[in-house]
Symmetry: C4
Subunit: 206 residues, 4 copies
């Protein structure tokens, strides 16, 4: 399965996304997981415990949308549930990325009720925003080791708010997605920029 062109192309795009995120300080050590869709039923996802800045083809596994491992001999990370739930909900989603910067982490702890990003031109880079500078809600979920339960909370939230472009887990960073790895990276980059702006805005507003 790791021989298919599709696998190789997606693994390469995810490895490049990991390299960029690591270089920018958005993924400390080996936290976080990146995934991309292979077809209707299968995704490629990072194997557990790897440094995201140095991924190669051997750093990925294939799982189906029921969570069965189709390649490799490792157990997938518990966070795999958080990826699968997105691909099942929306067939248009081609990639799910996690970014875990200090600013995403600090904001997720300071605003346990969720964050609203508004009056930023850069919101136009997110799928949920209209032509003008409007607002984007970013829900914050409590962190837990019960990943199936957390995945179900995310699924419920997405059912009610299909327009969401990303969410935070408290102390755990950002999940965002897109039609492709490139689109998801653009959303990660936009969110991280807006998180920087939020931290500075709250410092200046005091």
């Amino acid at each position: 399965m790791e021989d298919t062109l599709e696998f190789k192309a997606q693994a390469r795009a995810l490895a490049e996304a990991g390299r960029l995120c690591a270089m920018r300080g958005w993924i400390p050590t080996s936290v976080g997981h990146f995934s991309a869709r292979l077809n209707e039923q299968q995704i490629v996802i990072t194997a557990p415990g790897l440094d995201k800045g140095r991924l190669d083809d051997s750093g990925f596994m294939v799982v189906d949308l029921d969570g069965h491992v189709l390649s490799g001999d490792q157990e997938p990370a518990a966070e795999t549930f958080l990826h699968i739930v997105m691909y099942r909900r929306n067939p248009g989603i081609g990639a799910v990325l996690q970014s875990h910067s200090a600013q995403a982490t600090a904001l997720s702890r300071a605003f346990p009720q969720g964050l609203v990003l508004e009056h930023y031109e850069a919101l136009k880079q997110l799928p949920s925003a209209g032509p003008g500078p409007t607002a984007t809600a970013v829900p914050v979920f409590q962190n837990t080791t019960d990943m199936p339960r957390l995945a179900s909370q995310v699924d419920d939230c997405m059912a009610r708010h299909p327009e969401l472009a990303g969410y935070l887990i408290a102390g755990h960073g950002l999940y965002t997605w897109g039609t492709s790895v490139e689109a998801a990276m653009r959303h990660a980059e936009t969110f991280e920029f807006l998180f920087q702006c939020e931290v500075l805005s709250r410092t200046l507003d005091r």
Copy 2:
């Protein structure tokens, strides 16, 4: 038109400016536009939706100072009006750049009435400052999707204050300009440095 030496030279200078701005975190994803003058009536400007860190010759279009597209088959970005208005007002302007850092964005939101930068040696790098460390005003305009109206507000402001070296749009970053792409980049770099200083000064002064 894209074959002229003038076009190639200006496109190359703008691509290099974009690469530097992206590397320094002043242009998240594909926001912002860069332009340079080709002659009395024509400018080259970035096409919409491109990552400013990876521009090449195909990432630009030529428009005249009435807003007509002279090359390429794309619609120019609405922000093109904000560029044209500067070239029409001042024949000495050779380039207009937008930089969109987190500090520029946060300050533009915190000071909707405008910002005054004073008592900085680096102000000498801006055209409006005299030989000593004086002050530079940075107007802040409200953001809007009505670009022709915003362009007209900018034009009025420049008519009253021709000495201005740049302005902010709330939540949208800095516009600055110069006799060449290099000169405009020097102004962008100076403003971004002063914005960093302002954020730190306001943190220390509390």
Copy 3:
């Protein structure tokens, strides 16, 4: 002794750790010391006064766990005691690193009674944390020029709290360790990320 494969391998790993730390701004000029175990009785440690970003094989000396110099003609740095005490206490420790970032330094001064890091997913990257997002204590010791006394305080603290993954010295940065240079670097990276989060969290919480 500098000819053994073991020496060369450990010196190379420490030089690479130094290069990464210097690049990230975690080791200003020539402060700090890095070490790795050669065998039950001997370690390799950086010679005094060197820039950690440009280490090569000649930048290291071999000392035994009684503090005797086994190679080179330099006196070891006084901080060598702080390294030896860890290797003597725990035969599983393969490397001890010091990182000295601005955030580690500022936190070590602001919290002389010690720091508790809690509710961070990244805590899972540290050996003392369990499967869920729990808490990690980071003791802060007073700085002093009496290194043998400080080493003895650290030793007493480790006897009472063998689960510790690192400690701070006030105004002096972080000491952390691991089974190998790579493992110790992962802990340094995790701590530095968490220190960034703590500084931002305390800024946002005010």
Copy 4:
């Protein structure tokens, strides 16, 4: 004169210092000047208006300690006085550097009466500090366009406090020096690190 080995070696060392400072954001655009001693009576100093990140041999001029230009056809920058005054006072000084980071600039404005850096291990990297973590005073001078007068104030201050390792000019950045370009860079790096710590400490202490 630009043909001597001494000139070439010092120009190369200053160009490398400039490249490092620019890369770290300590020298925005073309502000600041770097110099190094050629002999008892002559120094090499950066020509006015150049980007410090891209210096080559043509970016320097030779002046004597009375301020006479010995090479090149440019007028030296007014700040040349601030360099000469140090070389005249202390024959052991081999280089004078200016670094102009946002944190140096913000601190110089927030503490017009001067700054005291204390309880930092990194102070040991500065010549004035003893074996233990003691304190270093950093005077802050008012900025002015009257450089001869400012140079005379600096000279008076150095006469009273020969142990000083650097000083700030309000809104204008840090002057520091050393026996060589490398030594002066180590002091600049130490001060910039300590300024970062000071900004963070004051943020945390509130």
